[in-house]
Symmetry: D2
């Protein structure tokens, strides 16, 4: 009800504030028998963690995750997996002057309208720090999906401001600090980000995530379609303002003959659907893209109001990402993994004994977004 749990069968609950002693969570519903260690989670946590380059926040967190339960002799037991990450590098004093004023573009005002009070240190619960737990939980889902079903989930930064990749190469994505699929344009990104940092401003971005090898049949009509739940998951990431699946907003100008993905015995001929028809996976690549707003945490002054109703100016100190889209890639991957894992288990509940009349149709090549 209060929104800190995600999923129905593979349920992730998170807790923790930016400047409290620790963040953590519980993963309930993981099937038993999966080989799992903290190292499996750490890899994605390290991809997300701050301070990896000069282009992200300089807060230093080792983001070491502890597994407190649910794993015995190297395997999951089917009982809940308790996760804990200690906060280390807090500078709460940076936030003292925000106690009585609402930063524009932030959740300060809305939290106080909702709860009557708020933990103002570093945004408290509204900080993207919470997403570290999602990444840890998502890594468990990713591992299960990979090991048991052969599903691979990957993401990349697909646009930063008006900069777009010129070519696309999955291999490049992990070779630069931007999760950028095009080596040629990395220097352009670096120059842009350096200028932006000097300016003290921030910029929007887009991230794409792709799941390959998803079995057909996942997703529940009519309300919990796979695409609806992906939209819920991705729009629930801090700063996201838009989600599209497959052809997405481009479909507005498409005709039916152009959009529909015809089927042959060799496979689908296109993937405008983004791997989902009628809310259920087709077996093609699932392709989603999100728009992330420019963060409102930067040092250029802005107009706002105080707790007592007075108009004031505010400058956001603290250490922040000038483009939150960069570190969002592993978070988006994690959320997509959580949705697919959850729907796989949901599907199994009702349909574990179904044999479809037709063998799955081969998946067509992915549509790049």
């Amino acid at each position: 009800m209060s929104g800190n749990s995600f999923g129905r069968c593979f349920v992730v609950t998170t807790f923790g504030e930016s400047h409290g002693p620790a963040i953590g969570g519980v993963v309930d519903g993981c099937p038993p028998g999966l080989e799992l260690s903290e190292a499996d989670l750490q890899r994605d946590l390290d991809r997300r963690k701050p301070g990896q380059s000069r282009h992200t926040t300089q807060r230093r967190e080792s983001d070491r995750v502890q597994i407190l339960s649910g794993v015995f002799e190297g395997r999951t037991t089917g009982t809940p997996i308790g996760l804990l990450i200690h906060n280390e590098d807090q500078r709460s004093r940076d936030y003292d002057e925000l106690a009585d004023r609402y930063r524009p573009g932030h959740a300060d005002y809305t939290y106080e309208q909702k709860y009557g009070l708020r933990d103002y240190r570093g945004g408290g619960r509204s900080s993207a720090r919470e997403t570290a737990v999602r990444v840890a939980a998502g890594a468990i889902a990713k591992k299960y999906l990979a090991v048991r079903l052969g599903v691979q989930i990957r993401g990349y930064l697909s646009q930063l401001g008006s900069i777009r990749p010129k070519v696309f190469d999955w291999e490049e994505v992990e070779r630069n600090p931007f999760f950028w699929p095009c080596a040629e344009t990395v220097p352009e990104l670096e120059r842009y980000m350096d200028a932006l940092r000097k300016e003290g401003n921030s910029i929007g971005a887009a991230v794409a995530v792709v799941a390959t090898g998803v079995p057909p049949g996942l997703g529940e009509p009519v309300f919990d379609r796979l695409d609806a739940d992906i939209a819920h998951a991705l729009m629930g990431i801090n700063a996201v303002k838009g989600v599209e699946i497959g052809a997405g907003f481009a479909c507005i100008e498409q005709k039916g003959t152009e959009h529909r993905d015809e089927l042959t015995t060799e496979g689908f001929l296109s993937n405008n659907a983004g791997g989902i028809l009628g809310g259920i996976s087709t077996g093609q690549d699932i392709v989603a893209r999100i728009a992330l707003k420019p963060t409102s945490s930067f040092r250029l002054p802005g107009r706002t109001v105080r707790r007592d109703g007075m108009a004031v100016e505010v400058i956001t100190k603290g250490r922040h990402d000038p483009c939150v889209g960069i570190r969002a890639t592993p978070i988006a991957e994690a959320m997509l993994a959580l949705v697919l894992m959850d729907h796989y288990l949901r599907h199994r509940a009702q349909n574990a004994d179904v044999t479809p009349p037709l063998a799955p149709i081969p998946s067509a090549p992915r549509r790049e977004v």
Copy 2:
């Protein structure tokens, strides 16, 4: 789990297939004491129902809704509201030849992969006919929100293919069969649709929905943000491939100074946020836009496969909407109403006794999308 219920506090469950005897549903959680009659539901059902102009499907359904329970002496009692709508104009024979083949761009293939069998008459459960029940349930939410909180929810067709309105006028929206906010361009729409019908093709569209007068504080961090739940609700409408809130995908190219909505004592100075910050309503207009794909139900032949794996051609007979976006407007309004109603009750559970330190900041003029 099987996805036929929506909401946590104001829970709508629907049942029914396109060509079964009836569709219907249950609304559980409506507060008691609300004046309610079938006429309150019928108004929106009539806006959605087929056959209202030559530009939508010619299936004739009166879509008369019956309230079977939960209302006593003209008021809701707090017990579940049973809803029933009989199907009247079914031509199931139109679908006989689809029993063994999967229309491209349809849920035929995915339903059969999921369940092993399917009701192929008119798409069965995957038909948009099911949305009539959502509209009926949404009308209850709309009425509560209007009467008790002063919230107004409206939608319009914001793009059809490449045609966009030239001017914007709420008054126009209900004066033409397209929910189109611009009288000047209606003839252009009509010509386009007439040509499309002759061609036998279909076209995509965009719909915008706006909620005015929403109290601040609605929405639950971190997973069930108001925008995340709106995305879930709207992406769960048949044919929707994208959802954006406020500035939406345009935020990718915005800088922070441009995007953040500054606050003054007279109100917010802009509404790039679309009325939601940190997943919680600000009190500004909530603004969402969706992209609807061109339906795959049209009479131009397409390649597909049969149940036995053979490649064949298929033509979709039956009576269909060449632009499903047109009738989607009342559906999108209904879904937004259901989200807001549900979050209002969710909010009340935890925070019924909260007094925020600051009176709500006046709402700035709506950002047209």
Copy 3:
């Protein structure tokens, strides 16, 4: 949230009041491919329906159930099953004088405290009439459990006032109007009930339900243990004041050596556990017993208060069961079926691919309660 749905995977939602036009419901999550017709539901509805003998209420309801969706060509499709039962024999005028007073032992007072108003005709939503829908839904679960898993669910009246069966014979249960397992004591029951009816009073009773052939492994630690969910299901039946599993309250005076059910390779040596250990089914018979209060609907006057706070006397007219325990047997069976069905699907979600190291231990003979 408002409590009109039951289950997580096999979800039953009911609607309807005693004196409205109809009662009904939705079953969501039934696996596809199950052969199902209205006749499968009618058998248990007929066992529950009023007017079967002079010992139950004389209200005449045919209780004909219609399946409105979710079944195609004689098989379930995996989509929601809509159920409808029209109310036929309402005498709402019997209740006019109850509009302003609260019958003692009834929900009149509590409904009005909760909702501020109530449908007073025949108890409205609080009437046991609603349980007809549970019986219909339970019949679907019963059929699946029987056909696919070989589970048999049966119940009987195990005590009426101070009368207990002298011998136990399952064959007798369906041969008398009391669901009584002992032919010899049926005349005693009839004499008692005739005298009670003349007196105008009511009496309590106990019902036992037994599930045979349940696979081991069903039930979710720690909160949703199988026994906890059975307790929830059975205590949720109108008039139930107590639930026990296996040895039940008798275990208070047992020592550990007496209570623990030892295991041998031939099976468990006893069944004090009632088929459940650590909240998970053992494979033995699941045995539960419930206590049902004497109904408060009878014609002897009682003290109460009016809506305006005045003290008055009240007599409950209308047609009522002098022992609600009698017709409770099929309801208790239905609820047990719903719990087992739901937990079977829940179990499958997480553990569909588990192979236990040891073949299930044979089930010991049932412990009669």
Copy 4:
């Protein structure tokens, strides 16, 4: 789905095994602004913790709870409250020989049937050690209910084997290590327990819990009646085999004239209902009683089978409670508090603005069970 969360609005999720590094949990949905510190939780944890007298297990755990989030400057913020309790005194070697055999009366066999593997150290997740987290979470609910609504929740041991209290005095309950309401019979209990310990056996017990000052109107018909949810909560405590409300099983032999609680303007004249009518609280004391089985952890050998199917004898070493009923009192109080808190918030969601026509009727004196 996997059963490690409790509640809908005030949601408690627990994790942790008996012999892992820590146990803990998350409380989601606590209203903001409640004064809360670790000391508020510690009091009940100390009442439950082992080693308080020679009559309970000699495992030494300080059971110090840490609040990791959700509290800022001494008040709850409305965000999730993370709880952590480190395990300290584990002697896992005591359990090595249980790795391959199933103790009779324990969850060993059922866990392995369900999950295919199990953490055998001290019962793993099935250990009552997990209930420490419930007690911590329950203390938060208790505090809210007391401070904001004036509800008091208390429990006591109402029977141990065949020993019953001779007189009842709430004052005595916290003065002896048994939560026993009768000073006169405490020596009898001590002698009995000393003899039992020498014998190496265990004994059953009964615990009663009472909530005073509960507002009328809590509870949701039809499935989530307040009594149904109390039954779920209490039957979900380790070792519980029966639950009764108010008159409970005694109602089987009651007549209607005896059972119904008549109302006068001075209050109800009796409380056979145990404070609940039609599943909704009346405002009278809520009274529930549970039966706890004799633990199967004791040192007298018993027959069982091994993982490989061989018949063997087993002796349970380790340190155990010869009567688990004794320490169950604070656990039962906690579970009742969680149910009431959850239903208070659920009620508020739908009915926050209801004004009942009649002021609540005064509560009659509690019926002692």
